[in-house]
Symmetry: C2
Subunit: 333 residues, 2 copies
């Protein structure tokens, strides 16, 4: 799975900015890969790219139409279908991160076949994986882990990739979720893999590399999330990461989707991640904390981060407010 860019981002009839979260992520992290955005009548989202028709997008060189909008229920709106068919006729592939598959739309599939175009349903792994070997491999790896789901693990990994590349280091973001895959142009939707192959798919995703090359592996879930911890543990073992970054969003009343389930203590979460990670990478260590402090004032955020850094003896950053340079500093000294 390797999605060709440049992209034209399809925002459809997104009722608000949140519905175009996927397009937003792609526009933010890969602006150079995006020629523009395509919005239908009634669209209330805007990711800040030039508005284009399909024809203008094709002329600007777009090779893939990215379905960058999520519907309630993850289905395709019938009004999108005409756009998708026309994009294929204009020479574009289509990539989508929705639960429903583009390839299951008969009209779209037929035109793709006739025109020789590719359809990427990035939530659905399209290859078979081996069982993990657990064997050590060359290259350096960092995995973002978390106290909960949706606390900024993808964002932190992308921020680390950007900071490392800015310093001239060899670094690649390795995507394990649908938005990350559209941003990276490749990856594995790890929670959609058959259970026996979680670690094996992660080994495949972050293969042996140059001794000074960093893979920044996008984490999923949390060892403390009662629904998804199996995925998190499989990732932890498959990644064989020497460095872990603990991601956290302060102020949550309970674990995401589990009313009544308290957030773990960060020290416990660090200890359990390190303990489990050392099965396949004995040097594994949490080297920093990345907080999403968007719900706090600047002063509150600063106080929180200073407190966490002091308590846990490692840098604590907010990738948005402060950047992640202090964590990269730790990795390079």
């Amino acid at each position: 799975m390797s999605i060709k860019h440049p992209y034209l981002l399809f925002l459809g009839d997104a009722p608000d900015q949140l519905a175009a979260k996927t397009a937003n992520g792609v526009a933010q992290w890969r602006p150079g890969w995006c020629v523009g955005q395509l919005r239908l009548d009634g669209c209330r989202a805007d990711v800040g790219l030039p508005d284009m028709t399909l024809e203008e997008g094709a002329k600007a060189g777009a090779k893939t139409l990215i379905i960058g909008v999520a519907n309630r229920g993850g289905k395709f709106s019938p009004v999108w279908q005409e756009t998708m068919v026309r994009a294929l006729e204009l020479g574009m592939d289509i990539a989508s991160g929705l639960h429903a598959k583009v390839a299951d739309l008969p009209a779209v599939r037929e035109v793709a076949h006739l025109e020789g175009r590719q359809l990427f349903d990035v939530r659905h792994p399209n290859r078979v994986f081996d069982v993990a070997s657990g064997k050590p491999r060359s290259g350096r790896r960092l995995l973002t882990v978390g106290t909960d789901c949706s606390v900024g693990k993808m964002f932190a990994a992308l921020a680390l990739e950007a900071e490392m590349q800015r310093r001239g280091m060899k670094a690649d973001f390795r995507a394990t979720g649908q938005t990350g895959i559209l941003i990276a142009g490749e990856g594995v939707s790890i929670d959609a893999v058959v259970a026996d192959f979680i670690s094996g798919a992660t080994e495949w995703l972050s293969p042996a590399n140059d001794p000074d090359h960093w893979d920044l592996v996008e984490g999923q879930g949390s060892l403390f999330h009662a629904s998804f911890a199996g995925v998190s543990l499989g990732l932890l073992h498959g990644a064989q990461a020497e460095a872990l970054v603990m991601c956290h969003e302060p102020g949550r009343a309970h674990m995401r989707g589990l009313p009544g389930a308290p957030l773990p203590d960060i020290a416990d979460c660090i200890a359990l991640n390190e303990r489990c990670a050392r099965l396949t990478e004995p040097r594994a260590k949490v080297v920093g904390i990345a907080c999403n402090t968007s719900s706090l004032s600047a002063a509150e955020a600063e106080g929180l981060m200073k407190g966490l850094a002091d308590r846990h003896g490692m840098p604590c950053v907010d990738p948005v407010r402060t950047g992640v340079a202090p964590i990269v500093d730790v990795l390079t000294t």
Copy 2:
């Protein structure tokens, strides 16, 4: 998925006893469900049941032909197909635990459809699961966990079910692997579930029950197995078991399938399983150790079990040599 018994066990042309391991397990644990065994020319396995033709099996009341033999590669031998078609014509369903699907054999599928028979490919979950809720539920549950794969977790759970039922307790074995499913007549092949649903499928498998009813949940893998620990953790969280039984086979040189990977210390394995299990069941505790001592002499086995019991402060049994009564005693006092 509920497989109808009585069964006729098909041993095919199994070259040795090990190839008929599945049939062996069913004959051992559900003798009352089995009318006989069906062996083709050249079969070198024998599970101790009366030999029968398909016609004799049908006359004896067999409702399902169990494919109780494993081929190298998990495929169907062409010579079995004639038997399967004839079984369907005689009114039997077919159940198989192989990787390849019975339902993918066109001739078999067609006859099953014409005759209105069911084909059970028990390694392949045939339903959709919800994500785990993590909510406490009524009933008592025990999960067998392990230091490694294939150390007797299914056997221990079945032995506990038998011992509890012998004492008049309400108890049900809950199967999570293919042989277990054929023995129970139902269950979920948990390592074949999509990663996001490991815990959810386990919650479904062992639902709320009477306050004095025990579910004996078959464990899979090990938290210390670099390939499969994600499955083990998802099971641990979904089972919400108050009691864990640690299964172990002494004398292994390395983790199964992972040369060079040492077995965990049993105390570490107990501690990590308890710690992780308490996320969804705060009372979770390892209450006993079940060893497979088949490679040891009687005196060696006795010494080993006494040493483990003393060191860990809990009963240590070999379900084959000693039975599991001491563990049930702990649960009932």
